[in-house]
Every structure is written in structure tokens, then in C-alpha cells.
């Protein structure tokens, strides 16, 4: 009997919940149906794990929310995982895409669920770096052909008897394993796990003059704080990185671009216009990223500061 009463109570609660949900259910969308009707005022932005991306996303978010009255949902996701969100409407915008020709082929050309939305204006390039003091002290260290000679310098407890090449987040674009193999380098990739870990190691390497060879990229504010020297790999030529297993050349300089879901491009209205028009310089991104990382500002505050100081830049992005 007691159980019976409990069950009845529970059924009642569940029913009430279901009713409550049913009344407003038509309004919700989290992309559960194959083609969800986007409520026109919510925009879903993927936030990939590096601060430059976060800076661009923060400025776009700020303008969407404060100037155009949209609601923005930000989702912390790895680069390649973000693309999976286009199909069912879980992601509307990838703000800063680094190449990814294979993903473009799959999602833009084959599945037709995403479209390109133009350059961000940022020029991005990945490379291997050492602190400048190492370049001064060890002649020729910035040439990959001499790396084996200096490999012992980079040894750590994690890399065993090889030199350590410190890598970032596991999800980042990477040719490191192939490069080491194909250029016959006596190095081992050690994964630091995040951008923050890379920055910390680089800072320690500078302060305490500890040797370090690491994966890094431009645009980045760190170049304004620490002098870094890029290690020259065999120069990039068109198509030299077509087969990921056979890469033996440096990274290309990329025109970073925005990718949006097809649905957002069709129905996004003013928000889509703004995203399409968004384009700024590496310096601008670095300034916002620096504020977020080093000046104790939240992404929103850093974006507000930039927006207030640069009206002439962003007013050109605004939809008419």
C-alpha cells in the first residue's frame, strides 16, 4: 500500500512535470530534431581551447549581445569535435578555423551542413620555437638539421634518452610525429596538455634559462612578452602536407577563416551578417587575448574594452 501511494505520488509529480514541459515545449530547441527551427535570437558559438580564439569569440559575442540583442551560447569544445555540431544545430559558428581541408571536404562539400564565412583577417602559422637566448648561445640551433646535435639539451624526465618537443592540447593541429619520423630527428613529442602549460614552460625556460623546444603559433600575445626564435624546417611548398603520414615540411601560413552551419547562413539574419563581416588584425586579437590572460579580465570585459576603443573598426562589420 505504502509503495502504491508512493508510486502514485511519483506519477503525479512526473505528470505535472511533463505537463509543465509540454506547455512550453514547442519553444525549446537544442537541436534534437534533424532541422530544428532556430529561435532567431540564440547563437551557438564553439570555443576552441586557445586564447586567441577566445578573444575573437569574445568580441563577436559582445557585439551580438550588446549591439544586436542576441543571446549567445558558448560551448567549450575541441576543434574537430566542434564540426560535428553543425549537422544537428548544436553549433552555429566556428570563429577561427585553422585549415582543416579534410573537414571542409566532409562537412562543406559532402554533407553540405556547413559553409565558409570568410577570413578573420588573422594570419596563422604554427611552428617549432626555442627561446631567443638559446638561438644566441647555440649557433645553428634554429636549423632543423642541427637539432640532433642539440637534442641532448632538451632531454627531460618525460622524454627519456631523446630530446623533448613539447606539444600543446591533444586536439591541436599536429604533424609532429610525422616530422620527427621523416626528418629522422632524435626527438620525442611530450604532450603538455594545454596552451597554458606551453606558456608556463616557455616562461620558465626564459626566466630560468632552461632549454626548451616547443610547438607554438602566431598570432599570440606571448611573442610580445618573450623573445622566441623559430626553428626552420624544410620550407612549405604547395601540397607537401597532403599526406599526413609523409609530411616533411614546415607548416603553411594560413588565412584563418570562419565556418558557420548552413542553417545559420540561411536564417541567421543580422547575426550572420556580422560574423561574415568580422575581420581584424593579429595585433587586435593579441591585445584582447593579453587582457584575458594577463590582466585578470574576463573575456567579456576584455571584449568591452576593445569594442569601446575601436568603434571605427567594428562599425564596419555591422549589418545594415
Amino acid at each position: 500500500m505504502r509503495i502504491g501511494r508512493k508510486v502514485r505520488l511519483l506519477t503525479g509529480v512526473v505528470l505535472a512535470l511533463a505537463l509543465a514541459a509540454g506547455c512550453g515545449g514547442a519553444r525549446v530547441e537544442t537541436g534534437t530534431s534533424p532541422a530544428p527551427p532556430s529561435t532567431d535570437d540564440t547563437v551557438k558559438i564553439a570555443v576552441n581551447p586557445w586564447v586567441g580564439y577566445e578573444a575573437s569569440a569574445a568580441v563577436i559575442t559582445y557585439l551580438l549581445e550588446k549591439k544586436l540583442g542576441y543571446t549567445v551560447e558558448k560551448k567549450e569544445l575541441a576543434e574537430q569535435v566542434s564540426w560535428e555540431g553543425f549537422e544537428k544545430g548544436d553549433i552555429d559558428i566556428i570563429v577561427e578555423n585553422w585549415g582543416h581541408e579534410d573537414l571542409k571536404k566532409t562537412f562543406i562539400q559532402e554533407k553540405k551542413v556547413a559553409v565558409e564565412a570568410g577570413s578573420t583577417g588573422n594570419k596563422g602559422v604554427i611552428g617549432w620555437y626555442v627561446p631567443q637566448w638559446m638561438a644566441d648561445e647555440y649557433p645553428g640551433i634554429t636549423d632543423y638539421r642541427n637539432l640532433n646535435k642539440y637534442a641532448a639539451l632538451f632531454k627531460t624526465s618525460e622524454s627519456g634518452d631523446k630530446g623533448q618537443l613539447l606539444f600543446g592540447d591533444p586536439s591541436y593541429v599536429s604533424n609532429e610525429d610525422a616530422l620527427i619520423k621523416n626528418l629522422k630527428l632524435n626527438l620525442k613529442v611530450v604532450v603538455a596538455g594545454s596552451e597554458a602549460a606551453l606558456i608556463e614552460s616557455a616562461t620558465q625556460a626564459q626566466r630560468q634559462r632552461k632549454p626548451l623546444l616547443f610547438y607554438f603559433w602566431k598570432p599570440h600575445w606571448l611573442f610580445n612578452r618573450i623573445d622566441l626564435a623559430r626553428v626552420g624546417l624544410p620550407p612549405h611548398t604547395d601540397g607537401c602536407d597532403a599526406d599526413p603520414k609523409k609530411v616533411a615540411c614546415d607548416y603553411a601560413e594560413l588565412d584563418l577563416d570562419k565556418i558557420v552551419s548552413r542553417r545559420f547562413a540561411d536564417t541567421g539574419g543580422k547575426a550572420y551578417e556580422l560574423v561574415k563581416n568580422f575581420s581584424w588584425t593579429n595585433e587586435a586579437q593579441n591585445a584582447v587575448a593579453d587582457d584575458i590572460t594577463n590582466n585578470g579580465m574576463s573575456a567579456q570585459d576584455a571584449a568591452r574594452k576593445w569594442v569601446e576603443a575601436n568603434e571605427s573598426v567594428w562599425s564596419a562589420w555591422m549589418p545594415h
Binding site: L17, V28, T32
Partner: protein, 682 residues
Amino acid sequence: MSSRFSRSSASLCFSGAPATVRTTRPTGPRTAPSTASRAVRRARPLTAWLTGMALTVAVYLLFRGSATLPHNDDAAPFRLIGDVRDWMDANRNESPVFLFLVNYVRLLVGGLYDALHLTLLILGWAGTISLAGALGWLAGSWRGAVTTLAGFGAFGVLGVWRESADTLALVLAAVLLSLLVGLPLGVWAGRSVRLRRLLAPLLDAMQIMPTFAYLAPMVLFFQIGPASATVATMVYSIPPAIRITALAVERVSPAAVEASTALGATRWQTLRKVHLPMARATIALAVGQTFMMALSMVVIAALIAAPGLGSDIVAGLSRANVGLMLPAGMAIVVMAVVLDRMTAAAATREPAARDASSTRLGIATATTLLICGLAAARFLPAEFPENWVLHFAGPVNEVVDWAKFSWYGVTEATRNIATETVLNPVQNVLTTAPWWLVTGVVLVAAWRSGGLGPAVTAVCCLLTTALLGVWQHTMETLTTVLAGVVPALAAGLVLGVAAARSPRFSAVQRPLLDAAQTMPPFVYLLPALALFGASRFTAVFASVVYAVPPVVRLVEDGIGGVSPAAVEAARACGSTERQVLWKVRLPMARGAILLAANQGIVMTLAMVVVGGLVGGGGLGYDVVSGFSRRADFGMGFAAGVATVLVGITLDRITRGADERPSRKVPRKFPGKRRRGSHEDRT
């Protein structure tokens, strides 16, 4: 070692006593060998062991570097799995499996999440808090109400109300679905031996499978978002629901069932009126466990765009910002504690004490509470008031920075020394040893501890990892597990013994253990990462901290369960306290200690894999990278399967000779069970 002590000395004084006591333990009877043969057995294994060791070392030195299976990122199994993935990806919108099953599941699950989420949104923060308070009152009167009110209030004060509501909706959706599937299946399994046998290996695998390994297939089937995250969480949290329910139904006294049948009840009536009521308390425990599992998964599900608290933790990890993730981490722990207490309170309430009038009173109070809350919600702002929020990200980051800076020398040295003296040498040995030698050692170890059956299983599992192309990384993972297990067991043993001997120590320690065991594994990474940066040592450190609590609990329970008569007898024989501990208590708790070792190993393995996120290397990293890079999907999937196989191998080696049916208990089960049985007695 300790068991051999006991058989000789303790039984010389009061011969036979340990054997009688042992038979009463649930871990299974053992026939005590005669004193003479005991002495022989004591000498023989030692020499045999030493000879075996020497032989292994000799063989290793002879064949070092040969027959190793180095890792290849482009191994055939990886490519095969990748091809399957591509095919599925391409056929997602054509295949009937997707059109008529998977897509509908997604729709349904997403709908449930949306409904719950919307309900919480409509209720607003004040309404939700009061609803929680009302439910808390119903479950555990004023105590329950205070716990839930304080807990839910804490979400707001921590400044993560909105995220907590998202997470709560997701957890509720996942748990509802888990129970909907798990409870009937559990009841069925409790009554059918065949189904139980069928399910056991599947559930084993699901529980050993690292949480990450669920994510990549989820993305493949359901892509990302709340629906996908709910399914992942549900799949992860189903095993305890099935397992504990089955156990509860199975344990219902056969006499009662027989009586019911004899009185002419149908099967259905027996189920409803005998099985379910009698198994009620344990089934409530199953619900609690399901909540705990769901909470630990929901954080990791942030990696596939689950909304809520997990997102903050992931963001904090990638920015090494402890201040950002701390409020979210604390909110998760609070949520776990509240949900745990609520289900526990609902389970342990004495049914007899609930007469009609007090029930009515309870419902009336709860309703009043709810109505007050809803009324208050009309006057309160829709968002949790900003000036009630406690901001501590800044100070926390300052403390972390200070600790990092001033302890840098110590932490760095600790990490390097541990890595150089333990991790690297062990890893070096395991990766340069021929595969057949490692397999041989595993075969012998499993055979000695468990007999032929477990040995064959262990070896098969181990060799399958080689077939999957991840042998070398399996060895690397094994290294970190070994490095984590030894300190975890040592610490667990010391603390467990201390707690068993001093009730006061135990009383202080127990709430800490409770809290530690309700924390999802992800949270353990935070302090480890803050102190040691990203490295294998960080993963080992986190896994030690993660594995200690269950070990302590099992050891304490085991030693506390030793028959007082045996202890008295030993004292009467003139044994000192130390002798009593070493020669009576520890040996007689052998079963419990073995179980603790077994649990410790499984937990360490689970954590080491999560450690892939913070530089853990080995299989864990493969899983992480397979999830985040499409090209590595095959490798990640193979590594996920391999982790399960490693888990089974280790389980079979440490299982011991006892015939223990599926004693892969969920995290808190042993402690709870004891608590429950106390109450039964009183």
C-alpha cells in the same frame, strides 16, 4: 605474506579457531590445512617464488629488446576501425538503423532533457530550491530539507546557478532513463541466473571502460550536444542500477518467496508483493549509485558539448585556471552529496514509522515549502542575485600561483625523482621485455592466485591488446597503474588499520571518505595539475588520491569484522597488540584486503586513463586523442577496448582463489551494506 604468518603462529595457540571464523565470512570457506603441511607450504612457496623471480630476470636479460611490439600509429586495426567509422558517417542519413532507431533515440532523449531543463527554468532559482527542499523534507524530514536547501543554495552562492541547473537537468534525464531500463532488467536478472551470467561480463566491461572511451562512439552515433551527452551518461550509469537491483532481488529470502508461491500467488504477485518490498532499501541504494555514476560522467560529457558545470571545468583545465574550475568542481561535489543523502534518507526511513497522519503532515509541510518558494520567486529577480554570490576565483588563483611558485622546487623535484627512479625504469623494463615473457608472468600470477580459468582469461585479454596494435601503450599504462597501486594500497592499509583500531580516528575519517567517494574523478585532476603540471606523475598522483578511500573503507570493514572471540583468545594467549594486529587481525581480514587491492587496482586504472588529459600518456592519451582528432579515431577506439582488457587482466590476477560471484561492487557499496545491516539488527 601475512596469511602464512597466521597459519603457523596464531593457530598454534588456539588451533582451529581461525578456520571456524573464516567459514562465517562471506568470502568463502577455506579448509585449513594440517599444521604439518602448513609448515611445508610456508617454506616451499618462498623458494619457488625466488626461483621464479630469478628465472624471469635471467630470461628478461637474455631476451631484452627482442619480440617487443613497438607502437605504430598506422596499424592495420586502427585503419580498419577508422574505415568502419567513415562508412557509418557516410550512411548516417540513409541507413534504416539511423533513420528509424538512432535518430529517434536522439529525439526522445533530447526531448526529455529539454523538458526537464525547461521545468527548472520555469521554476526559476527560488522555485527550484524550494522544490528541492520539499522533496528533501519528504525523503528525510527536516534534516533532508536542510541538506537540500543548503546544497541547492550553494549552487547560487558559488555563482554557478545556471550551469548547475543545466547539469541537474542532464543528470535527472540520464538517471530517469537509466532506471527505466536498469531497474526492470535488474529485477529480471535477479530472478534469472541465465540472464545474470549473460549480463555479468557486459557490465564488467562497461564499468572498467574509461569514461572517455564512451565519447567517441557517442559522437559517431549521436553527434554532440545535450542529447548525445545524456545518452553517454545513461550508458555509463546503468551498470549499478542493474547490478545492485539484481543483487537485491536475488537476496530476497527464498522462504518468503516459497511461502508466497505456496499460498497461490502468481509470479507477478510474488514479484510485486514479496520481492520488491523486501528489496526496497537495496534498490534505493541502486538509485543512489546511479546518481553518483551519472554525476561523474556528466563532467566528462562536457567534451561533447554537454551544457553545465563540466564546461567550466574543461575550460579551467585548458587554461590551467583553478579559480575558474573550483566553483564548478565544488558545485558538483555538493550536488553529489545532496543527491546521495536524499536517496539514502529515502531508503533508510523506517516504513513502520510512517503512519497516515505523519505522512499527511509531511506532505503538507513540503507543499507549504514549495508554495512559499514559488510565491517568493515572483518577487525575487529571475537571475540569482549577483551580490549574494561569493567570488573567490581571484584569491584562489593567487594562492595557487603562490603555491606553484614557492613549492616549485619541491614539486618539480618530487616529480622528477619519482619519474626517474620508478616510472622510467619500470616502463623501460615492460616495454623492452618480449611480449611472451610478460604474458608468461601474467599467466603464472593469475594461475597461482585464481587457477586455470582466470589465468586463461587474463592471458587472452592481454594478447588481444597486442592484436589491437596497442601493446606498447598497454605496457606504458600498466607502468602507471603499478606505480599508482603500490602507494595507494600502502596508504589505504595504514589508514584502514588505524581506523579499525581507533573509533575516534574512524569517526573523523569517515565523512572525509564519504566526500572523497562522491567526487567525480575529473575533480581529482585539478589539484594534481595545479601542483605538478602535466606529466605521467600527475596522473599517478591523482590516481593514488582517487583509489585510497575505497581501499581504506574495505580494509577498515574487513578488520572491524574480525571475530572479537579470536582477538580475545589471542590476547588471552599473551599476545601484544602488535602481535594481535599482525598475526590475527590482518591475516583474518585477508579476504577483505584482497578485495581492497582488487578495487584499488581497478580505480587506479580508471584514473590513469582519465589522466590522459593531463599528460598521462599510454592508452589514456590514445583515447583522448582519438576522440579529439578524427584521423586518430581508430587508435582511440582500440585503446578504449584495450583499457577494458587490461582491467579484466588485472582483475583476474588479483581476484584470488575465492569463488566470489561478481564482486565488482560499485564505489560505495561495502560501506553502505554494513551500515544497512547494522540498522537491520537494531
